[in-house]
């Protein structure tokens, strides 16, 4: 037994391929045979992934040495590389058409998330400008939150909340996107780009769109990749300035 675990630890990435393959097979079988394709297989697979992450620690399942390969396979390098690859099927003409709406969606999406998130935090008792801005930034993505929090000197408890809010946003986007796809009229490249700009959390957008219609992934991901950059730019500067002016 000891020798097998040592062998797996040495070949952790290959073991991760096997494990993810099994999760995918289980999820797609479940979706097709039990759920009659009402919930997409991709969404089930991602939900199982999040469930497994609960068994681990800071790095989810990868905190357990046996599953360290999951951190390699699901790391930012592989993720970004695969996102870029999805652009292969995209059409340049469609992107040009969504240019203005996509840009507007980015600005509105970041503003709405920031101020709405900050107000909800305010109502729940986080009333100082630093907490307002950090929690609001966390409502953008789980990267914008901690970057903003440490830039303006917020407490670590508030930063933890901002990360959690961002992760929950990503989970909600993943699971709820296919459910509300019809109401959002999410059935063409144009609305997918608007969607990507409004929601912004790259993993949630891409996973949610993949579960809705894989062809829409590159369009949503394209605008979403600018969201975190723009959020990191706006939240600790102009937005924090507005908040501290209004709250003092």
């Amino acid at each position: 037994m000891q020798s097998i675990t040592t062998l797996i630890s040495k070949n952790d990435l290959v073991f991760a391929f096997l494990l993810v393959g099994l999760i995918m097979w289980l999820s797609y079988t479940l979706a097709r045979k039990v759920l009659d394709n009402k919930i997409p297989g991709a969404a089930i697979a991602i939900a199982i992934g999040l469930g497994l992450a609960y068994l681990g620690g800071d790095e989810g399942l990868a905190s357990i040495p046996l599953f360290s390969g999951m951190a390699l396979l699901g790391g930012s390098m592989m993720r970004d590389f695969a996102i870029v690859a999805t652009a292969m099927g995209a059409d340049f003409k469609e992107i040009k058409k969504a240019g203005l709406a996509g840009g507007l969606a980015l600005l509105i999406g970041i503003s709405v998330a920031f101020f709405m998130g900050g107000i909800l935090g305010y109502v729940m008792g986080y009333t100082d400008p630093k907490s307002f801005a950090t929690i609001g930034a966390g409502a953008c993505t789980y990267i914008v939150g901690p970057v903003t929090g440490s830039a303006i000197g917020a407490g670590s408890d508030v930063i933890a909340i901002s990360i959690a809010a961002g992760v929950i946003k990503s989970i909600v986007a993943t699971i709820a996107t296919p459910i509300f796809a019809k109401q959002m009229e999410l059935d063409n490249p144009h609305s997918a780009m608007v969607f990507g700009g409004l929601i912004g959390t790259t993993s949630g957008v891409a996973a949610g769109l993949a579960a809705t219609d894989p062809k829409l992934v590159p369009y949503g991901a394209l605008t979403a990749t600018f969201y975190t950059g723009l959020g990191v730019l706006l939240c600790p500067s102009i937005f924090y300035f507005i908040v501290s002016f209004l709250l003092s």
Partner: protein, 121 residues
């Protein structure tokens, strides 16, 4: 050869990331600003300009499409390595903010989707 496609993808990725790094430096943000977006735009540009039709045969494209198809499995692995425990112990504020803001932005999707360049002109 499939490796040609993978190499093209890697080239776009590296150039995009470098541009993102430069933009980050320029804006004085510690991070990569839009690097993935630049890389995607580059790949779409090369693919749409007809340049690739001459130089990129079907098999080379398969090299890119393989990684495109690996996207969901990679997202599953990424989900499995998130700090879900911390997200759940972050308390109700995090849940309320995460769920509330996402659903509000969902509601704005059909509104903003109506903006087409033709109507502006």
């Amino acid at each position: 050869m499939k490796i040609y496609g993978v190499a093209l993808l890697a080239g776009c990725y590296i150039v995009g990331k470098i541009l993102g790094e430069w933009l980050g430096d320029f804006l004085q943000i510690d991070g990569n600003v839009g690097g993935v977006g630049f890389a995607m735009a580059l790949l779409i540009g090369i693919n749409s300009l007809g340049f690739s039709r001459r130089n990129l045969d079907t098999e080379s494209k398969d090299g890119v499409l393989f990684w495109s198809a690996m996207y969901i499995p990679i997202v599953v692995a990424m989900s499995a390595t998130q700090n879900v425990k911390a997200a759940l112990t972050g308390g109700w504020v995090a849940v309320l903010v995460g769920v509330g803001c996402t659903l509000l932005c969902f509601a704005l999707v059909p509104v903003l989707s109506r903006i087409h360049p033709k109507e502006i002109e």
